[in-house]
């Protein structure tokens, strides 16, 4: 779980949720600080790196994957079996089980806002001299902040490699599953 807490101290550090970020978007989303906390504490940061907080529900529901999952659904009614697998799919996001573009945060214990995703693609470096313009809103507590950062670093350092072709993959599946096989 990654529930935000109200920020009682006025120091901007890693995991601090901020408002008034100059995204040049209207309306502008909140953001969360990704910058290294030591750099901030020892004044070694020239810029404050922030990632946007986007609405999780709509981001999921507008995605290709979600649209594919619901394309045959009528009147929003999902069969029990499909609902179960649907729940398993969504739990991956809720628990941040996987490294992905987004990191789920439930902010509702700290602020009145919808469920949110940290978007690791939507970043901004704000000159540190302008940090007084920012408004501190809440904080992602430890160890969730550290987990978020580990997801960010893993996401940003992914390396694409060639995959086995379909035929070779099929052969490998057969070898690994042996003696079990398809009916």
């Amino acid at each position: 779980m990654s529930w935000l807490v109200k920020e009682e101290n006025s120091i901007i550090t890693q995991g601090t949720v901020l408002d008034n970020i100059p995204w040049e978007l209207d309306p502008a989303p909140l953001g969360i600080v990704l910058s290294n906390p030591c750099d901030l504490e020892w004044e070694k940061a020239s810029y404050l790196l922030v990632a946007s907080l986007v609405p999780a529900k709509e981001t999921i529901q507008m995605s290709k994957e979600f649209q594919q999952k619901v394309e045959s659904v009528k009147d929003y009614v999902i069969s029990k079996t499909k609902w179960k697998s649907f729940g398993v799919y969504l739990k991956q996001f809720i628990n941040n089980q996987n490294i992905a573009r987004y990191y789920f945060i439930d902010p509702t214990k700290a602020i009145e806002a919808p469920l949110l995703f940290v978007d690791f693609q939507h970043l901004l470096a704000i000159p540190i001299l302008k940090k007084d313009n920012l408004e501190i809103v809440a904080k992602l507590p430890s160890p969730h902040t550290e987990k978020m950062i580990s997801h960010f670093s893993s996401y940003i350092s992914r390396i694409g490699v060639d995959r086995e072709n379909k035929k070779d993959t099929e052969a490998l599946i057969n070898q690994l599953a042996d003696p079990y096989h398809s009916s």
């Binding site: 995605s63 089980q97 490294i99």
Partner: protein
């Protein structure tokens, strides 16, 4: 003393009214924010733009009930229907999920 009348503030609302009051006062020096407008704030960029355009560093803000910072809930309600959000996220892949557990 220069005045930004209500209409001017309204026209500046979308881009300007985002920063803290403290910041406004510290940057403008002689700026006055009256009690009823404590929720109204202005960005440095817009403030500096206004200073240059009007050749003044003195402001008086006029009460206008329209000018009010949206709650986060209301703001996100607007975000999900905004062009930038829909254009950036509609039909996008959620990305490959690499399990770490």
């Amino acid at each position: 003393m220069e005045s930004i009348i209500s209409n001017d503030i309204t026209s500046y609302r979308d881009t300007c009214l985002t920063r803290s009051k403290t910041n406004l006062i510290s940057r403008a020096g002689t700026a006055i924010a009256i009690t009823t407008l404590l929720t109204v704030t202005i960005s440095n960029d817009c403030l500096e733009d206004y200073i240059q355009t009007n050749n003044t560093t003195t402001f008086e803000f006029v009460a206008n009930k329209e000018i009010k910072k949206l709650s986060y809930k209301d703001r996100y309600q607007k975000i999900v229907n905004s062009d930038w959000f829909v254009n950036s996220y509609k039909d996008m892949s959620l990305g490959e999920l690499l399990s770490i557990e």
